[in-house]
């Protein structure tokens, strides 16, 4: 067969002619390119056979190697957990104070605690544990239920007013709503409470409130209003106001009572996580 060869370039043409003299040059793909191309096709076929590839209606072809990315992640995670099993075990078996004294364990515990905190606690207490109205700031030195490492641990374990039998339970009565105090009395009591931290604007009312406080509030909050960790009663003499430090906030607290809640984490997390969490929270700077 004779080949059509273009006069100008010396390249073979396809033999087709348009508009009298328009010819299409036939430059074949380089051999190496074709080889790579066919190798890719062969590769793809082998891949289809060996790995998950084709979607079906009720699933997909799983491939001869039985590989699954989910499985590979799960086993990698399990491998990581197995590598840390010793440390995890120590978190559970050793007293908290001993963990704190062991540098390696403590670093592991606080790092673990930080991630447990981010996953479980941050929604209420905030990413930096800074809290918000009704949700305590865990960085400060004011602790409703006690700020020692063991107290923090216990609070996390059983929660506050949770459904766990060992939880902290006491709450503040609804003095106004349950008609225990008259609105006027509530007003005076609020003035007195504010005066303890130098916030009162009405000294006469505050003086009237002193007796109301002694009769109704001092049982839990203490004669000096310094609070009581066993009851979860906050100090009213300090500068930290969980529900706001304006007069209206204090009145609302007395009127409707207060009783924030926290779940018992011992039923939700494993023991090593709870302990890591306690150590992390205690590391935030306010722990006693």
């Amino acid at each position: 067969m004779k080949r059509d060869v273009d006069e100008h370039t010396g390249v073979e043409t396809t033999g087709h002619v348009w508009d009298d003299d328009l010819r299409e040059l036939n430059n074949p793909l380089p051999r190496w390119w074709l080889t790579v191309f066919y190798a890719c096709i062969a590769w793809a076929i082998a891949y289809w056979v060996l790995y998950p590839a084709w979607p079906g209606i009720h699933g997909y072809t799983s491939g001869l190697l039985g590989y699954s990315s989910r499985q590979s992640v799960t086993s990698a995670v399990a491998e990581g957990a197995a590598a840390r099993a010793d440390l995890r075990q120590s978190l559970v078996s050793k007293p908290l104070a001993e963990i704190k004294a062991n540098e390696t364990l403590y670093r592991f515990a606080t790092a673990t605690g930080a991630s447990v905190f981010a996953n479980n606690c941050a929604p209420c207490h905030g990413r930096g544990a800074q809290g918000s109205q009704g949700y305590p700031n865990l960085n400060d030195d004011d602790w409703l239920w006690g700020g020692t490492l063991d107290e923090i641990y216990r609070t996390i374990q059983f929660g506050i007013r949770s459904d766990h039998p060992d939880t902290h339970t006491t709450d503040m009565p609804r003095f106004g709503a349950d008609k225990l105090l008259e609105p006027k009395q509530i007003d005076d009591a609020a003035e007195f409470v504010l005066s303890l931290s130098g916030r009162s604007s009405d000294e006469v009312a505050a003086a009237r409130g002193k007796q109301i406080f002694a009769d109704n509030c001092a049982g839990c909050h203490g004669d000096m209003a310094l609070g009581n960790k066993d009851m979860g009663a906050p100090s009213l003499a300090d500068q930290i106001w969980l529900y706001g430090g304006q007069k209206a906030d204090v009145r609302a607290s007395i009127h409707g009572g207060r009783g924030g809640k926290m779940p018992a984490w011992t039923t939700r997390l494993n023991e090593s996580s709870v302990r890591a969490l306690a150590l992390y929270v205690a590391s935030l700077g306010g722990s006693k």
Partner: protein, 475 residues
């Protein structure tokens, strides 16, 4: 419109121009002489360095790697004898590379491609591979004959060559991984098959590349893959010593019969000995060219021939273009070593070297960073005081545990505390970065917007001061 019809051409009438030059196989002949001897010595020297350096020990104390040169990828640091380079100090490596290139520039300006001719791993390994090939298949003529020898003989000899190449390549790749892990630990692991997969992968890669580049590709690497031949064109001038065929002496060349007169002709007897020994297969008599590695083997070859025909040696020699020109006119020039470019390169080397040296001498043996907490920015304490949290990082570059004293210089009345550290000293184990949680509380009336922290090593006396911002509620 009527176009002139083209008639289909039946065959290629014009010769097809191809830009592809197929490789000419090269059969370098063994040269004898001073330069060949020098090259053997340098080959032993450079290969000796390559194989022995990972086995040099360096005492850095317990729990530190005891290898003098270790590129520790897992721990992210380079150990070079007494120097340890952390990732953030990689500029020292940059500095070393700059010094190396400037050194290369200077040497090239003085004497051409000394690196290419004697020291480049590609040259050294190719030279070794050619020596092995010569050992099994004989010298140039024997190898030429082997191409048309019976299949069995050819296959036998060639497979011996290639097997030896592969062994050399394997040893090369095998030695390479020792730079990245403790050599005495890794060697038995490699042999017993218990080394990490990465080690085998890299041994494999370097075995393959050594076999391919040193054994098979050889001069093509220098001619086509390496950028250096292109750069060197700009680095040599008429005063650079280059391996040169002295035209003025050699031309007109031609065969010479014993007893014939040397009047009216050059010294070159056109024996092509210089071409036969050339590892890149060029003819030095064509002048300076891209492919020439400046390996000087043609000098040896020519110096062997010249005395035999009764002419002085040095027809091919290290010479400058300037000297050639002068000698062509019957004169001589003094070599000019001090030239603007050599002075420039030398002073750049001096400057870069001094900067490196000063940086190394002023290098602190610990580094400190202080990061103020961003969430929360500040914490109000029950008595109204304001507290800020900081993450303090201390990088201990010494190979001993150190205890750093942390003090708050400003504000003076501020209260400093560190999480889980009651001793007053921050303990940092050897050669590691440690993080500490630091808290500074000030009274609600304080007005400071910064804290100044002093970190001090009582043993070495070194001290670092850090200023960090202090946030408080507005109003």
């Amino acid at each position: 419109m009527l176009m002139k019809p083209t008639t289909p051409v039946t065959d290629l009438e014009k010769p097809k121009v191809s830009l592809f030059a197929p490789r000419r196989k090269i059969y370098p002949k063994l040269a004898h002489g001073n330069y060949r001897r020098l090259k053997w010595i340098l080959m032993a020297f450079t290969l000796g360095i390559y194989y022995s350096v990972p086995w040099l020990r360096w005492d850095r104390g317990a729990e530190m790697p005891g290898q003098a040169v270790l590129l520790d990828m897992a721990q992210e640091r380079f150990f070079l004898f007494g120097l340890e380079i952390w990732p953030q100090e990689f500029y020292y490596v940059t500095g070393l590379l700059i010094l190396a290139s400037l050194g290369l520039f200077l040497v090239t300006a003085l004497a051409g491609r000394v690196w290419c001719g004697y020291f480049c791993p590609q040259t050294v390994w190719t030279d070794l591979m050619i020596a092995v090939e010569r050992f099994w298949e004989g010298d140039r003529n024997a190898r030429l004959r082997l191409d048309s020898a019976p299949l069995v003989k050819r296959l036998l000899k060639r497979s011996l060559t290639h097997a030896s190449w592969l062994v050399i390549a394997l040893l090369t790749g095998g030695a390479f991984v020792f730079y990245f892990a403790d050599a005495p630990t890794l060697l038995p692991q490699l042999i017993t098959g218990s080394a990490p997969n990465e080690a085998y992968i890299f041994v494999g890669i370097f075995t393959f590349t050594t076999y391919l580049l040193g054994g098979i590709a050889r001069e093509q690497v220098c001619t086509y893959m390496c950028p250096w031949p292109r750069i060197q064109g700009a680095l040599v001038d008429q005063d650079t010593f280059l391996v040169t065929y002295r035209n003025y002496r050699g031309e007109p060349r031609g065969p010479h019969h014993k007893g014939a007169s040397w009047e009216g002709r050059g010294d070159c007897v056109d024996c092509r000995a210089c071409v036969a020994v050339c590892p890149t297969g060029i003819d030095i008599r064509d002048g300076a060219q891209l492919e020439c590695l400046q390996c000087a083997l043609c000098i040896d070859a020519c110096n062997e021939i010249m005395p035999r025909v009764g002419r002085p040696t040095g027809l091919i020699a290290y010479d400058t273009i300037a000297n050639q020109k002068a000698a062509g006119g019957g004169g001589v020039t003094m070599p000019r070593l001090l030239r603007p470019r050599t002075i420039l390169y030398s002073s750049l080397i001096a400057i870069a070297g001094s900067i490196m040296l000063i940086a190394l001498l002023l290098r602190n043996d610990f580094e400190v960073t202080v990061l103020p907490d961003r969430n929360p920015l500040f914490v109000r304490l029950s008595n109204g005081d304001v507290r800020n949290g900081y993450t303090l990082k201390i990088l201990n570059k010494q190979y001993r545990t150190r205890h750093f004293a942390l003090t708050l210089r400003n504000p003076e009345e501020g209260r400093l505390s560190v999480d889980n550290q009651n001793t007053g000293y921050l303990r940092v184990p050897p050669d590691i970065l440690r993080e500490f949680k630091v808290y500074v509380a000030v009274s609600k009336n304080a007005q400071n917007d910064a804290v100044i922290l002093d970190i001090h090593d009582p043993v070495s006396g070194a001290s670092v001061t850090h200023v960090a911002s202090f946030r408080r509620p507005q109003g």
